[in-house]
C-alpha cells in the first residue's frame, strides 16, 4: 500500500549503518523485528500468528548466518520469506478427483466472498480439463442468487440445476441423481453466503454435507479480510472439516495476510485464487509467491515466468540495455505494448513488479482500449519524433492527433505517461537488487 513503505526499504534503513561495523547488535535485531511485526500486521496477518512468527524469525536472525552476512537486510528478508512460505505449505495443492465419479465440490463462505463467480470459474477450468461439470444452485436466500448462477453458467456453457427455493439439502441430493443420470462427472454446489456464527445456516451446510458426501469442501475467503479471518476459518473448519480454501479478489492491491492466518489456524491448503472478473481468472495458489506479496516484495516469480514465455532473450537483453542507459524511445514503447499484450493483462503485470505499489500508474497505462488508441498516436508520429519525443510541440501534436483520430489532450496524456514510465524505469534500473528488471 502506498501509505507504508515496503518492508525491504525499512529493513535496509534499520541495517544501513551496519556495513561500517559489520556486527548485528541486539538493538538492531529488535528494531528489525519491530518493522517485520508492523509490516505483517499492516498486511492483515493475525495478531497472534504475527507474534508467533516474529519470535521464530528473531531466533533465526540471532544466529551466525546473519551476523557474518554482507547484506543483513536481505538476509533477514530471506529468513522471513522462508518462514512465511513454510507456514503456508511448500507446494500448491490440486483439486481432489473422486475415484468413482461424480466428484462433488461443496462451496461455502461468508456473504460477498465471491462463491458464485468462483463456481463458474471452477466449472470452466474443469471443462477445459475434459470434465463434464454440473452447477447446482443452493442459495435460496439472497434475492436473484439463483439467477446469477444461471447467468454465470450460461457464460461458461455449463448446465445449472436448481429447484427454486426448495430446501438446499433436497436440491443437492436430487442434483446428484440428475448428474448420475446425465453423466456429469463433477458437481459443483453453490451455497448461500452465511455468517459463521449463524447456527441455523451452519447446520444447513452440515446437512448438505451429510447427504452429498462431498469430495471437496472449499471455503471461499475474500483476500481483503482482516483479523477476523482466523475466527471465520476456524469456525467453518470446525463445523465442516473443510478440505481447502479459495482466496478471491487477489487482483486487488490487498497484501492478503489473511491467507497466512487461515493456513496457520486450519492447516488446510489454499488451492486456488480468483484474480479477476472474467471466467478465466483463476490461478493455482503458490505459497512462495504469496509470501512475497505479503511482504510487498512483488510477485517476481510469476512475472519472470510470464516474461520468459513471451519475450525472446535477445529482445529482453536489448530492452534491459536501453533501460539501463535510459535511452528508451516511443519505438520501444510501441514494441512493449505488443509484448505486454502477449503477457496478459497489463495491470496484473504492473502489480507483480516489486515496489510497484509505490508508484501511481496513469490510468491510461492500464486501460487496454486506451492502449489501442495510444498505439495509433505513436504510429502517427514520424520515426524521428518517436526517437526524439522532445521535438513534439504544438503543431506536431495537432498533426499527430488528426492523424490518429484522437485529441491533443490524448497526445499530451500519452507524452506525460511516456515520461512517467521512463522515470519509473530509470528508478527500477538504478535500484539495487530487488528493483532489477526481471527480464
Amino acid at each position: 500500500m502506498a501509505l507504508f513503505g515496503s518492508l525491504s526499504e525499512k529493513l535496509s534503513h534499520v541495517f544501513s549503518k551496519l556495513t561500517k561495523r559489520g556486527v548485528l547488535t541486539e538493538l538492531e535485531i529488535k528494531n528489525a523485528m519491530r518493522e517485520i511485526r508492523i509490516a505483517l500486521l499492516e498486511a492483515d496477518v493475525n495478531f497472534l500468528v504475527v507474534k508467533d512468527l516474529v519470535s521464530k524469525i528473531s531466533e533465526k536472525c540471532s544466529g551466525e548466518r546473519v551476523l557474518k552476512s554482507l547484506t543483513p537486510g536481505q538476509q533477514v528478508i530471506k529468513i522471513v520469506n522462508e518462514e512465511l512460505t513454510a507456514l503456508m505449505g511448500s507446494t500448491n495443492s490440486k483439486l481432489t478427483i473422486a475415484s468413482k465419479p461424480p466428484t462433488i465440490i461443496l462451496m461455502c463462505g461468508l456473504q460477498g466472498a465471491g462463491k458464485t463467480t468462483m463456481c463458474g470459474k471452477l466449472a470452466k477450468m474443469l471443462k477445459k480439463q475434459g470434465k463434464k461439470p454440473l452447477l447446482v444452485a443452493c442459495d435460496i436466500y439472497r434475492p436473484a442468487a439463483i439467477n446469477q448462477l444461471k447467468v454465470v453458467g450460461k457464460s461458461v456453457d455449463v448446465e445449472v440445476y436448481d429447484e427454486g427455493t426448495n430446501k438446499p439439502e433436497k436440491t443437492a441430493q436430487n442434483a446428484l441423481k440428475y448428474a448420475e443420470k446425465k453423466g456429469y462427472d463433477v458437481v459443483i454446489i453453490d451455497t448461500a453466503g452465511r455468517l459463521h456464527i449463524n447456527e441455523e445456516l451452519m447446520n444447513e451446510l452440515k446437512n448438505i454435507k451429510k447427504v452429498v458426501n462431498p469430495t471437496e469442501i472449499l471455503l471461499t475467503v475474500d483476500s481483503m479480510t482482516g483479523q477476523d479471518a482466523v475466527t471465520v476459518a476456524e469456525t467453518f473448519n470446525n463445523d465442516l472439516d473443510i478440505t481447502g480454501v479459495i482466496l478471491t479478489k487477489l487482483d486487488g492491491d490487498t497484501r492478503g495476510g489473511a491467507a497466512l492466518s487461515i493456513k496457520a489456524v486450519t492447516g488446510k491448503p489454499i488451492k486456488f485464487c480468483g484474480v479477476g472478473e472474467k471466467m478465466d481468472d483463476i490461478e493455482p495458489f503458490y505459497p512462495d509467491r504469496m509470501a512475497s506479496r505479503i511482504l510487498d516484495m512483488g510477485d517476481v516469480l510469476t512475472l519472470i515466468e510470464k516474461a520468459q514465455a513471451n519475450v525472446s532473450e535477445e529482445e529482453a537483453k536489448k530492452l534491459e540495455k536501453k533501460l539501463r542507459e535510459n535511452s528508451f524511445t516511443f519505438e520501444d514503447y510501441l514494441q512493449q505494448f505488443d509484448q505486454m499484450k502477449k503477457m496478459g493483462n497489463i495491470a496484473d503485470i504492473l502489480n507483480m513488479i516489486p515496489g510497484a505499489s509505490k508508484f501511481k500508474f496513469n490510468a491510461n497505462m492500464i486501460d487496454e482500449k486506451q492502449i489501442a488508441r495510444n498505439k495509433a498516436i505513436i504510429q502517427s508520429m514520424t520515426p524521428y519524433e518517436r526517437r526524439n519525443p522532445d521535438v513534439i510541440k504544438g503543431s506536431q501534436k495537432k498533426r499527430i492527433a488528426a492523424g490518429s483520430g484522437t485529441s491533443i489532450q490524448e497526445v499530451n496524456a500519452l507524452l506525460k505517461q511516456f515520461y512517467q514510465s521512463k522515470e519509473l524505469m530509470k528508478q527500477m534500473a538504478n535500484g539495487k537488487g530487488r528493483f532489477r528488471m526481471p527480464f
Binding site: R37, R142, Q148, I197, D228, T254, E277, A363, E368
Partner: protein, 296 residues
C-alpha cells in the same frame, strides 16, 4: 431495536467477545503487559498497527495528566478518545432532494445496503427512486428489483451490459419528472486498482454533477471484515469521486470494523450507517459511543 442491542446480539453469539477480553485485562495494573494486551484487543478489531499505537500513546499521556489510577477510569478515558476520533470526522447532513451513489469493491453489500436504506427513507415518508447502475454483475439488477419490491419504491433499470452512465442519466430524468426526494444509485463493485473501472465511476459522477441539482453524496460501502486494505479503498475512491460517508456492512458477524478509526483519522470521512443483518430493518444510523462500546 437500538443500535447497541442489535450490535450486542451479534456480539453475544461469539464465544469470546472483545468486551470480555478487555474486562479481563482491565483488572490488572497499568504496566507494559497491560498495554500489550490492550494493543492486542485494538489490533484484533482491525484498527491497524499505526492507529492503535497512536490511540494508546494518547490515552497514556492523558492518563498521566489526569492521574488515572483505576481500571474503570482508564476505560472511560480510552472510550472518550476513541469516540472523539470518530466524531471529529466532517459530518455534514443530507438535504432533500438528495442523490446518493453507493460505491465500493465487489461483495461488500452495496445492493443490500441500498435496499435497507430505501426502506428507511420510505418509512420517513420520502419518495424514493432506485437506479440500477450495476449493469455488469450477473443478475445484479434483478437483485435490486427484489429490494425495490420489498420496500415498495420505484426503480429505473436497463438490461445487463448497458452503459451505467446512461442508466443514471435516465434515472435522474425520471426522479426530476416525479419530484422524488431521494435517489439511490447502485454501482457495480470494482477493485480500486482497476483504473478503467474507476474512470467509469468518475464519468457517472460527472454526469450526476451536471444533471442533478439537489444534494449529492457518494457513500463508500465497506465490509466490516475488511482489513487494512480498506484504507487503500478509501484513498482511491476518494481521489476519483470524493467520498462523503461510509456505510459499514456485516457488523453482525464477529468482525469489529475497527478500520473506521484509521479512516476518520486519515481522511476525516464519517461513518453514516451500519448494516447488522440481511433483513430489511437491519440498518442503523451510526452512533460513535455505541460503536465504541461494541469494541471495548
Amino acid at each position: 431495536m437500538g443500535f447497541f442491542s442489535k450490535l450486542f446480539a451479534g456480539l453475544k453469539k461469539t464465544k469470546e467477545s472483545i468486551a470480555n477480553k478487555i474486562n479481563s485485562i482491565f483488572v490488572g495494573e497499568l504496566d507494559d503487559e497491560f498495554f500489550e494486551e490492550l494493543e492486542y484487543v485494538l489490533i484484533s478489531s482491525d484498527i491497524g498497527a499505526d492507529a492503535t499505537e497512536e490511540i494508546i500513546e494518547e490515552v497514556k499521556k492523558l492518563s498521566k495528566k489526569q492521574k488515572v489510577k483505576t481500571a474503570d477510569d482508564f476505560k472511560a478515558l480510552l472510550r472518550s478518545v476513541m469516540v472523539q476520533i470518530l466524531n471529529d470526522a466532517n459530518n455534514d447532513e443530507i438535504s432533500f432532494p438528495a442523490l446518493i451513489t453507493f460505491v465500493g469493491v465487489n461483495g461488500v453489500g452495496k445492493t443490500t445496503a441500498i435496499g435497507k436504506i430505501a426502506h428507511k427513507f420510505k418509512n420517513e415518508h420520502k419518495n424514493v427512486l432506485m437506479v440500477a447502475g450495476d449493469t455488469f454483475r450477473a443478475a445484479a439488477s434483478d437483485q435490486l428489483t427484489e429490494w425495490a419490491k420489498r420496500s415498495g419504491v420505484r426503480i429505473v433499470k436497463y438490461s445487463e451490459g448497458a452503459d451505467p452512465a446512461a442508466v443514471v442519466f435516465d434515472g435522474i430524468s425520471s426522479a426530476q419528472a416525479k419530484h422524488d426526494d431521494v435517489v439511490l444509485v447502485d454501482t457495480a463493485g470494482r477493485l480500486q486498482n482497476k483504473s478503467n473501472l474507476m474512470e467509469e465511476l468518475k464519468k457517472i459522477d460527472r454526469i450526476i454533477n451536471q444533471k442533478w441539482e439537489g444534494n449529492h453524496k457518494n457513500y463508500l460501502v465497506i465490509d466490516a471484515t475488511t482489513g487494512q486494505n480498506a484504507l487503500s479503498q478509501v484513498e482511491t475512491f476518494n481521489e476519483f469521486v470524493g467520498i462523503d460517508g461510509i456505510v459499514l456492512t456485516k457488523l453482525d458477524g464477529t468482525a469489529k470494523g475497527g478500520i473506521v478509526f484509521a479512516i476518520a483519522k486519515q481522511f476525516g470521512i464519517p461513518v453514516k450507517y451500519v448494516g447488522v443483518g440481511e433483513g430489511i430493518d437491519d440498518l442503523l444510523e451510526f452512533n460513535a459511543e455505541e460503536f465504541v462500546n461494541g469494541i471495548i
